[in-house]
């Protein structure tokens, strides 16, 4: 038996499928055909089936089904929990870049209008300076005020991202914090993709340049990518950092799989993983890896 979009064809006989385009599309999505069983559709059979009278009608009906099916598929993809989080965290990281760039620019600008030679002024960080300039008049004041408000939005967004990450990926977030978990998700391109990554790849996610330098030439391999942002990694002494990153990545790989396939926090795993990661940062002799 060969399933077609207009019905099931079996040795010349055909059972037409009755239903509108959307129902038709849903039926095709649920069909599970084997790889070897690919038989192209014969449009003449649709005529024999009584679905349509001629080629033009066949194509028109088929197009309705195709459009309905693709619309369903797009909606389904967008409804996944991680898709919005992906956009949120990417917006957040781009806002960071913009705020920093503009702050530096305004600081330079301000120095030209008010040249100062005292140490205090030269030592003032850009973001502090921007705040003080914000109250003043003129274009520079407006730009500075804009930056300040953008920075506030950024802080609010960061909170939302971290909250959403705890919902979407409870285990990963518990291990590494909502923000860093969301960044891992953004680099991987989705929760499904992240859950299928080996730990060694999660360890170096975000260290693309260093990784390819390592593969191409004989540069040393990167020890950590985004996970460096977690305090356990960057607070670890230099010589154990690689080890902490490796253990953490291993647990993250498991956590991501739990998040994707189970979707809820698993306290037993988390406790165990936290203890294991803490141990990896401790003294050499107490280590079991």
């Amino acid at each position: 038996m060969q399933p077609c979009w207009f019905g099931d064809v079996d040795d010349g006989t055909c059972i037409p499928f009755t239903g509108d385009a959307a129902a038709c599309a849903r039926r095709i999505r649920d069909l599970r055909t084997g790889r070897d069983a690919i038989v192209p559709v014969d449009w003449q059979q649709a005529v024999a089936c009584g679905i349509c009278h001629d080629r033009a009608e066949y194509l028109a009906l088929l197009q309705n089904v195709c459009i309905a099916g693709s619309e369903q598929a797009v909606k389904e993809q967008y409804a996944a929990k991680d898709v919005e989080l992906l956009q949120m965290v990417r917006t957040l990281d781009e806002m960071d870049t913009v705020v920093n760039l503009l702050s530096e620019r305004v600081a330079d600008w301000y120095q030209i209008r008010h040249p100062s030679f005292s140490r205090k002024y030269r030592r003032t960080p850009a973001h502090v300076l921007v705040k003080s300039v914000g109250g003043r008049g003129g274009a520079i004041g407006k730009v500075a005020a804009g930056i300040t408000s953008l920075a506030d939005t950024r802080t609010a967004l960061a909170k939302e991202v971290s909250g959403r990450a705890c919902e979407v990926m409870p285990n990963t977030s518990a291990l590494i914090g909502g923000l860093v978990a969301a960044r891992l998700l953004s680099q991987a391109g989705g929760l499904k993709e992240l859950s299928r990554m080996p730990a060694s790849l999660i360890q170096v996610l975000g260290a693309r340049t260093a990784l390819f330098a390592h593969i191409r030439t004989n540069a040393p391999s990167p020890k950590h990518g985004i996970i460096f942002q977690h305090r356990r990694v960057h607070n670890a002494p230099r010589e154990t950092r690689g080890k902490v990153a490796r253990v953490l990545a291993g647990k993250l790989a498991i956590a991501a799989r739990l998040d994707y396939y189970r979707g809820s926090a698993v306290p037993a795993f988390l406790e165990d993983a936290q203890a294991r990661i803490d141990r990896s940062g401790a003294s050499e002799e107490g280590d079991q890896s």
């Binding site: 399933p3 084997g34 690919i38 192209p40 693709s70 797009v74």
Partner: protein
């Protein structure tokens, strides 16, 4: 293929992606479309009014819209939701474009929709491009043609493009497919090759 003073064009309703028009024809830009580039640097396969096309990696539907201007029907397969939204817009304005949201490496997913085609066109950014083409040859009628736009940088970034080109040709030939033309798409597209075959 229609050319006006050496410029490749197609005849159809304009305004799909802001393309220029020339004497009522839509200009087909070789810098944007690899298929247009193939027609300029090589021979390619002529698109006829009765041709049926299975187009893998349809993206936003810009090249699809030009192909649809020439042929009877285009089955356009695209995987990502964002470009699919643009492709759906193209399909709503062209009766012969069938948008299919599916993974080109899983042809069984769209087998209930697609009929036997004369031309299989593939432009996907995947590492196993030859395997995808071979899997989809199930839809290609005997004597039909395959145009494979090889994105060498998607196959393996560490290898030389020329090496990947050779390897891909070997895979296709050992699978019993006759390669009739193979060319690089420079100067229009860097590190992209076109392989034209007959089943």
């Amino acid at each position: 293929m229609i050319r006006l003073n050496g410029i490749l064009v197609s005849k159809g309703e304009g305004g799909v992606y802001g393309e220029r028009t020339l004497e009522g024809y839509r200009v087909w830009d070789p810098y944007r479309s690899k298929l247009a580039a193939l027609y300029l640097v090589g021979k390619g396969i002529d698109l006829l009014p009765e041709t049926k096309v299975l187009y893998l990696g349809a993206a936003n539907g810009t090249t699809v819209s030009h192909v649809a201007d020439y042929v009877e029907v285009v089955y356009a397969v695209e995987f990502a939701p964002r470009p699919m939204q643009d492709l759906l817009e193209v399909a709503r304005r062209r009766k012969n474009v069938m948008p299919i949201m599916a993974d080109a490496s899983r042809p069984e997913q769209y087998a209930p929709l697609v009929e036997m085609v004369d031309l299989l066109y593939q432009d996907v950014a995947q590492p196993d491009q030859a395997a995808i083409a071979l899997a989809n040859c199930a839809f290609l009628k005997p004597g039909g043609h395959l145009i494979l736009m090889l994105k060498t940088r998607s196959v393996d970034i560490r290898k030389e493009p020329a090496e990947i080109f050779r390897d891909t040709l070997d895979i296709l030939i050992s699978a019993g497919i006759t390669v009739t033309e193979s060319t690089w798409l420079a100067p229009y597209h860097q590190d992209h090759a076109a392989i034209v075959c007959t089943r």
